[in-house]
């Protein structure tokens, strides 16, 4: 009897335990379901504890007003000084520079401008001087154009451990939207003696440059849009001048004044800066157009490559028109081959080039040179030094190369050795 009772007690306990366990798991399940249902939180993969959530087995993040980059991909500008930062050319895909990675160069910081307080004054040798607000500017017929903007001081070298962005990341490409300067000036009536214009910014430097009117009238845009949105503050919000193919400094940001004149003003930026020493002791001024140039962005420092087939990639551009050809050498200049250009090839725009290369694992040097529609061929450092009797300065656009070592490591080639 006692053994029977003991047996019954054991069964009863087991049933109680089982029931308790079922209730416990039920509560847990319901609680979890309720939590899942009410919480809008994303279940983040927890890499620290090595538990990775399979993204196909959970609900992803909800929609949002403003997008963001994947946290696994965070390209950054290369800040050289407080007044400049460079585009990481090696991190970009395609030819458009994301607006927040556009290079920066400013001379008195980035002004914060309320567009309702901002006006653009256009005066000088015009029949009818006017003041335009951003909202006025947007009423004119608009134009959009994809082109690069490059600082004319865009060349650095000196050590092997340099990335493409560090070498020449003061160039970026956007789709700019605005009104053609010629459209606005047509309305104001330009006087016949007009030959130049002065463009002036609203920043602390009141950055000002003189530009020949004839050239500016052909293509210059008073831009307010960049890659589909308003121009970023770093690029001149609310409005800037865009002169395709011209050196960046002439494309005045935070534009507040255009004066049509008969003579250049000879501002500090077009005399003591943005001029270069050339042969016979001369100083060249108003060198406004950016000559053709290219750079291989892969393979390049700090990437490491493996033996076998790879797509060698880079960008080429010219301020004088279209890039017609990019020549690539994978044997330190012994032979050159034509790279494939990604179409459509646009005027005065970064053009992607590609070259399929089967690396045999032996140390070598890869080089690229751009040729534009005027027949200009990107020179070497030594050709530039010889032509100018000067070892640097503005508008220095030499052929750049990368040394590929046996290990597959890639380093910037000695510029004087190319």
């Amino acid at each position: 009897m006692s053994a029977e009772r003991e047996h019954f007690r054991q069964i009863r306990n087991l049933v109680r335990w089982l029931m308790a366990a079922v209730v416990f798991f039920l509560i847990l399940a319901v609680g979890f379901a309720v939590y899942q249902h009410t919480s809008n939180q994303v279940i983040e993969p927890d890499f620290d504890s090595k538990i990775v959530v399979d993204p196909s087995k959970v609900q992803g993040a909800p929609s949002s007003e403003v997008g963001y980059r994947s946290k696994f991909d965070s390209p950054k500008r290369i800040a050289t000084y407080e007044t400049a930062s460079r585009t990481p050319l090696e991190d970009l895909q395609g030819t458009i520079t994301p607006s927040d990675l556009h290079f920066e160069r400013h001379h008195a910081g980035i002004p914060e401008i309320d567009p309702s307080q901002h006006e653009l004054l256009i005066h000088g040798l015009v029949e009818k001087p006017i003041r335009l607000k951003l909202s006025d500017l947007k009423k004119y017929p608009s134009v959009s154009r994809i082109c690069f903007i490059e600082c004319s001081g865009n060349f650095r070298y000196g050590k092997r451990e340099m990335t493409p962005g560090e070498v020449c990341g003061l160039t970026s490409q956007s789709e700019w939207t605005g009104v053609l300067l010629s459209t606005v000036l047509r309305d104001l009536g330009v006087k016949p003696e007009a030959k130049w214009l002065l463009a002036e910014g609203a920043d602390g430097a009141l950055m000002a440059r003189s530009v020949p009117l004839q050239e500016a009238l052909t293509e210059a845009i008073i831009a307010y849009g960049q890659n589909g949105e308003a121009i970023r503050p770093q690029q001149g919000y609310p409005m800037r001048l865009v002169i395709p193919g011209f050196e960046g400094n002439t494309q005045i940001k935070w534009l507040r004044r255009i004066e049509v004149t008969d003579e250049p003003v000879m501002t500090r930026e077009e005399t003591s800066k943005y001029t270069e020493k050339v042969k016979d002791g001369n100083i060249r001024m108003f060198s406004l157009v950016m000559d053709a140039r290219s750079i291989i962005t892969y393979p390049a420092y700090p990437k490491k490559i493996e033996k076998g087939w790879q797509e060698l990639r880079g960008i080429a551009w010219s301020g004088r028109g279209k890039v017609t050809k990019v020549l690539v050498s994978v044997n330190n200049g012994k032979t050159w081959q034509e790279a494939h250009l990604q179409g459509p090839v646009l005027e005065k725009a970064h053009t992607a080039f590609k070259f399929m290369w089967n690396w045999d694992g032996k140390p070598t040097r890869v080089l690229s040179k751009a040729i534009d529609e005027t027949g200009y061929e990107q020179p070497t450092y030594n050709q530039l030094v010889e032509a100018r009797e000067s070892k640097g300065g503005y508008h220095f656009n030499p052929v750049v190369g990368w040394d590929v070592e046996k290990s597959g490591e890639v380093y910037l080639a000695d510029i004087k050795d190319i």
């Binding site: 003041r131 009141l206 501002t267």
Partner: protein
């Protein structure tokens, strides 16, 4: 009748094909094929033809508004306010407002050298082509920590002092809206206009 029409159609097609093919046949095979490539100004002229004569956007800028903003000073003196600057007063303003960045003598830095020294670095004395640029720039953008805060008098005095430090004017020379454009800068004769034109030549 039907047969005749068919013959005409066939003949017509043949002629059309010949006309179409002929110009293409004339293109030498070694010449690159012209691809139509997208251009920013495609169709713009046609669009422009639909625009009104005038847009009349914005509001007129009157003389007093323009005068307030029109600050640039040109080599011929246009834009200079009436005034007089001297080296003695310039030295005082310079030490108070410029020396901390450009050095007590104008060449010690840490910022740009203004006065020529033994390093051969670019300065006002050895590189700037126009004296008026000093006035324009100092008034426009200096001092760095308070741009646009100098009076025209201070700018005139500093201009005189910087020209004196570079050995371009004598200590007693008075800088005015008349005399400043007449100051000959040593580097001016070295300046040439851009001579790059594209094409095969490297300059």
């Amino acid at each position: 009748m039907i047969n005749n029409r068919a013959v005409y159609i066939v003949l017509g097609c043949a002629v059309a094909l010949l006309i179409r093919c002929n110009p293409a046949d004339k293109i030498p095979s070694d010449e690159p094929v012209q691809r139509h490539e997208a251009d920013w100004s495609d169709g713009l002229a046609t669009y422009e033809a639909t625009w009104p004569e005038k847009f009349g956007i914005g509001r007129p800028a009157d003389k007093s508004f323009i005068a307030k903003w029109d600050i640039d000073v040109r080599p011929d003196g246009k834009g200079l306010p009436k005034g007089e600057g001297n080296v003695k007063d310039g030295a005082v303003v310079y030490q108070n407002k410029c020396a901390s960045c450009h050095g007590v003598n104008g060449y010690e830095g840490p910022e740009d050298k203004l006065v020529t020294d033994s390093t051969g670095r670019n300065t006002i004395g050895n590189y700037w082509p126009y004296a008026t640029t000093i006035f324009d720039y100092v008034r426009r953008a200096m001092p760095f920590n308070a741009p646009g805060s100098l009076t025209d008098q201070e700018v005139y005095d500093i201009t005189a002092y910087l020209l004196y430090l570079n050995g371009i004017i004598q200590e007693e020379y008075i800088i005015t809206e008349k005399t400043l454009p007449a100051v000959e800068m040593p580097a001016k004769k070295r300046y040439i206009l851009d001579d790059r034109r594209g094409g095969p030549e490297i300059r």
